[in-house]
Assembly symmetry: C2
Homo-oligomer: 154 residues x 2
């Protein structure tokens, strides 16, 4: 096991133990990566994790992210046309605003304050579980650089 210093705000070990998941280097590193860079995809997480653990496989990152998501530690979002992104902010019903040019994602607090924060006019016989809101727009970086996508998107 490797000691990690990036545990300022979140406490990976406690999160994992609390979820009944074994504490492994990979999982700690993935949680740290998500804490540093929310809305990261598998590639971004793998890159971050590889700095501490060079032999980490892409599949391991997939495994960990799926495990964390199932355990309720992470949440997966998937804006149309993009690969899945992950974040640790979970349990509060917040939403996202996505840049249509560069794919950058920012958090948006719940529109009306409670979950599910919206009620459809007609549910067509569905039992409603959740309302997911995605705002689309152009991020401030792309507004300036009308020529090339913002670097922050990658």
């Amino acid at each position: 096991m490797v000691s990690m210093e990036t545990t300022a705000t979140v406490e990976p070990i406690a999160l994992l133990r609390g979820a009944g998941l074994r504490v492994t280097d990979s999982r700690i590193a993935v949680i740290a990566a998500l804490a540093d860079h929310p809305h990261s995809g598998v590639d971004a997480v793998l890159t971050a994790v590889s700095m501490h653990l060079p032999h980490t496989s892409r599949q391991a990152v997939h495994n960990v992210l799926n495990d964390l998501t199932e355990a309720g530690i992470a949440r997966r979002i998937e804006p149309a046309g993009q690969p899945g992104l992950f974040e640790l902010r979970v349990g509060d019903n917040h939403h996202h605003i996505v840049c249509q040019r560069c794919g950058a994602v920012a958090d948006v607090d719940c529109v009306t304050g409670h979950a599910p924060c919206l009620t459809p006019s007609t549910t067509s016989g569905f039992d409603l579980t959740e309302a997911e809101v995605t705002f689309w727009g152009i991020c401030s970086a792309c507004k300036v650089t009308q020529a090339e996508p913002a670097a922050s998107a990658l």
Copy 2:
């Protein structure tokens, strides 16, 4: 060109001409398929189209759907974890409710009546273009058949 009878509600030829697109059998058949079965994916459209035009390729369906979407005749939605779905209802700001078990999709009229029908609390510097709402729940078929997915989903 093959004569189509399924043009009761929508008029494919007029739609295509109006958009400056050439009128082809494939395009007429795809529009007819979407008129009959909104929220269809490429596979479903291909199956429907193949009944009239057995030699239609999957790529042709992709082409047509992309062309229709760019022309504003069709709209593409992509619920998380599902392939893209297409519908002809376009221009009204309506939303969708998706079954978490079988993937069935139903339309939901705009939550408050105007587009964009929601305003985020903070836009994080983004220029807002659109608000997309996806409701998640369990469809009536899946409520009954708690064991196997509803056939309507396929």
